[in-house]
Symmetry: C2
Subunit: 337 residues, 2 copies
């Protein structure tokens, strides 16, 4: 138990290497993409890590699969419970089905239709709630009690964070093959799980690389918390097109890591995020959802100074309804504010 | 010269392995993608090879880079000429720029805007012509004479074909890692360059795999030629949304290879191709142009029997104008016929 409880408490690079072994052959080994036309325009070398190509359409599968694979098999048979705006939901549903166990997922009733549909299709039972009046944590805890199931938290969990960290291992591996070293990594940030995993990898293997968080306007809790030196929350009335990044506050477990390892955070307008989605379509031929495009938007709009540098931008998810995507492609104003 | 002229005459697996070495580090090593939801629906295991992620947005970069790298350096300095509806154009322009040499590309004036723009942006001089009244071959030959440049043909060239064949090497490598063997490969087919390269690889490494060509209605010249046992042409008045597959007849050099190694060909309606583009968006989060989606359409619509089988579908390119893509996503009727 000594080893295990240490792993539970503290995210280490060994934990992330172990996660990489667990997901091998189950997760997609996503490549690094590059567009010379974009490099020329920005005067930088920009690589995109397209986690939209990941199983279930976002990096969340990595953490969910890692977590479930680490649950003791007898316990695992009772199934898992998760709450999620949609990407973690799909990741958990698919990872549970691959392990042959049931999953119950609590989702906001205003989540994108494609995410609710897919979560069901991956084999989960979906329970809808109102994200502005009900507590998903309470609903999740009650379900775990009733079912004897284990909760797979969306970010505040060392097993989940270690799975997300495998994104960082792959980036480092691919950069080395190209004989490149990144000056900066920019990562879309909700609860901070991907950010904490990735920054742990870079602190270990490439400590000279600066790590930046990209968030939507009104949900820049991580950026503001990094400045304040303590966790601050977003306004309860805040709304964003970036459903996957609409978390109320940085995580309990993720924030102390990010506070130690992350350089800073930037906030993007919805117009900038929509433009980044169109650029990803044009230049990289990938479908990126609003929240998944925040880091690319930060690179495009100079929120992070990248001139003359080598930069990796994570496009973290691609689960966007066709109707919204087509309106964004046509340049319609579909945004709040 | 003996070795070289043999390579010029005959496409061999050694030639394709040599191409793989040449493009390494310059071309994107594209992954294989899989969607459990699609597998379940089709009762098959379907892998997508997303060449939309390739440099310049299509597999054409592979052949162009291989060809240019094999031109003797002094000659190469005089530059290259190509004619192309757009994907080969971009591939040649980018490959020429990477070699530090000029390129002149002859393109139909009704090619998608994004392809013309990008070809210029990659560094080529673009010359527009009318594809229904002028001969691109004649214009290309005249330019080569004037400039002392070498022609990079779109498909009927063993160097180009060997570069396209590297797609097949990667598919075999990735299937082996998954301990899978493909029953069938389905490939979008224009002039037959990709098909000939790929079928040469499979004949050598996986001779039990059937190779199928997917073409749009009215441009099913390869399917009909395979049945007829000789090269037949499409009607001069034929038009298709699949600009990248709108070739008049199978290639001189590609067809004898395909005749020997390819199982058959199928023709897809524009509605089926559009539906495949939407499925690629929803399931794989990739942007596929009409011509690039023909093989996926063949798998979706049962033109090739895949029940219970392992199948690889190549999505060959993703250079589609945003306006057209958004209309297709919205299910508007944008097709002829």
């Amino acid at each position: 138990m000594g080893q295990k409880s240490k792993q539970q408490d503290e995210l280490t690079i060994a934990h992330i290497h172990d996660a990489a072994q667990r997901i091998k052959g189950h997760a997609v080994r996503t490549p690094l993409l590059e567009a010379p036309l974009l490099n020329e325009r920005l005067g930088a070398r920009v690589f995109v890590k397209p986690e939209v190509l990941q199983r279930t359409g976002s990096f969340k599968f990595r953490g969910a699969y890692t977590k479930i694979s680490r649950i003791e098999p007898t316990q695992r048979q009772k199934g898992v419970v998760a709450y999620s705006s949609g990407n973690h939901a799909q990741g958990v549903a698919a990872a549970a089905t691959l392990h042959g166990i049931p999953s119950t997922i609590v989702m906001p009733k205003d989540a994108p239709e494609i995410k609710i549909e897919n979560t069901r299709a991956y084999g989960a039972e979906v329970i809808l709630y109102d994200r502005y009046t009900e507590s998903r944590e309470e609903i999740g805890a009650r379900l775990c009690d009733e079912l004897g199931a284990i909760l797979v938290p969306p970010y505040d969990d060392v097993d989940v964070m270690s799975g997300q960290g495998t994104v960082g291992l792959e980036i480092i591996e691919d950069l080395e093959e190209k004989q490149q070293r990144a000056n900066k990594i920019i990562v879309p940030c909700g609860g901070g799980g991907l950010l904490s995993g990735l920054s742990t990898v870079f602190a270990s293997s490439s400590p000279g690389t600066d790590i930046w968080a990209a968030e939507p306007e009104h949900f820049d809790d991580t950026a503001r918390s990094l400045v304040a030196g303590e966790r601050v929350s977003n306004a309860p009335e805040a709304r964003s097109i970036c459903d996957s990044l609409s978390t109320p506050t940085p995580g309990d477990i993720t924030f102390p890591i990010n506070q130690r390892l992350v350089t800073g955070g930037v906030a993007l307008s919805e117009r900038q995020i929509a433009d980044a989605m169109v650029e990803a379509f044009r230049l990289f031929k990938i479908v990126v959802e609003p929240g998944g495009a925040a880091a690319l938007a930060a690179a495009l709009y100079g929120h992070v100074d990248i001139a003359g540098q080598t930069v990796v931008v994570v496009c973290s998810g691609g689960n966007v309804d066709p109707a919204l995507f087509s309106r964004i492609l046509e340049g319609e104003r579909v945004f709040r504010g």
